[in-house]
Symmetry: C2
Subunit: 161 residues, 2 copies
């Protein structure tokens, strides 16, 4: 259902190709492919960091000085909803805390953002260290399983949702 799952973009795909893909996705989703959306999408594709909405706004404003921050937020949400881009890690809107210090991982619902603990037992150690950039001192690995919880996955029959 999500485009990223439907069509795999190749890493070496140049921007023109990606843009074409983007336009097709918009058309398929019934979304007008506005100039603002194209420029925003381009900024996302070209970003090597993991920009925040504010950072994107700054970049896009160089191309479209009149663009509004609201447009950036609105379209980011739309892109995410349609799987055109991804969130680096699910953002809960506010800080979330725990005193549980047993090794464990998390299950996060991408819709309601509810979180569940998962005991670390059974999750095998991750061998990643050799891939790490110079000087980064890893203290722990956290595994997050992203998906839909039972409630959010349920077809919204009866009641509203």
């Amino acid at each position: 259902m999500h485009p990223l799952r439907r069509v795999r973009i190749q890493p070496d795909m140049d921007f023109e190709k990606r843009l074409e893909w983007f336009r097709n996705e918009c058309a398929a989703a019934g979304l007008p492919c506005t100039h603002q959306r194209e420029v925003l999408y381009r900024a996302l594709v070209e970003a090597k960091d993991h920009p925040s909405p504010e950072m994107l706004y700054e970049r896009v404003k160089r191309k479209i000085p009149s663009i509004s921050l609201g447009t950036v937020y609105r379209n980011i949400k739309i892109f995410l909803d349609h799987g055109l881009i991804g969130e680096v890690s699910l953002h809960h809107g506010s800080l979330r805390l725990e005193a549980n210090n047993e090794p464990h991982h998390h299950l996060v619902c991408r819709h309601c953002r509810k979180m569940f603990d998962l005991p670390a037992a059974g999750v095998h150690a991750i061998r990643l260290r050799r891939a790490l950039p110079e000087g980064f001192q890893v203290e722990r690995f956290v595994v997050e399983a992203h998906g839909l919880c039972q409630e959010c996955a349920a077809p919204k029959k009866r009641r509203s949702n």
Copy 2:
């Protein structure tokens, strides 16, 4: 250096034991062990969900009606700094985005919150599914390596930091 690494709290440790540990940690860190801090810590230990500062504030207010939200935030930050509690997933303050749809993971500096990509190649598949709660539909696993990047790990000799 961090207490959670220095002393391992046992899962079956009752609250009195934890509180004693907490007091020792405070003393060791030169932190006055105020009533507010104890009540806040207790609320964290007893929480089964992954509360936000606001949620904690609501709970703690039942015990100390005069407590202020600022105190909750201030102490949460202190507890985190001293490793007395943990963040469920590193909170970036704002949404962070990426158009990179190649399978990859992230390296996050717990100090400056900078993020680096890690190719997924080499990270072996995680076998976790049998541990999942009923009905949760996992779409992807995200591995985050938390630690300190080179800059933040560097001893703050010369220059300020």
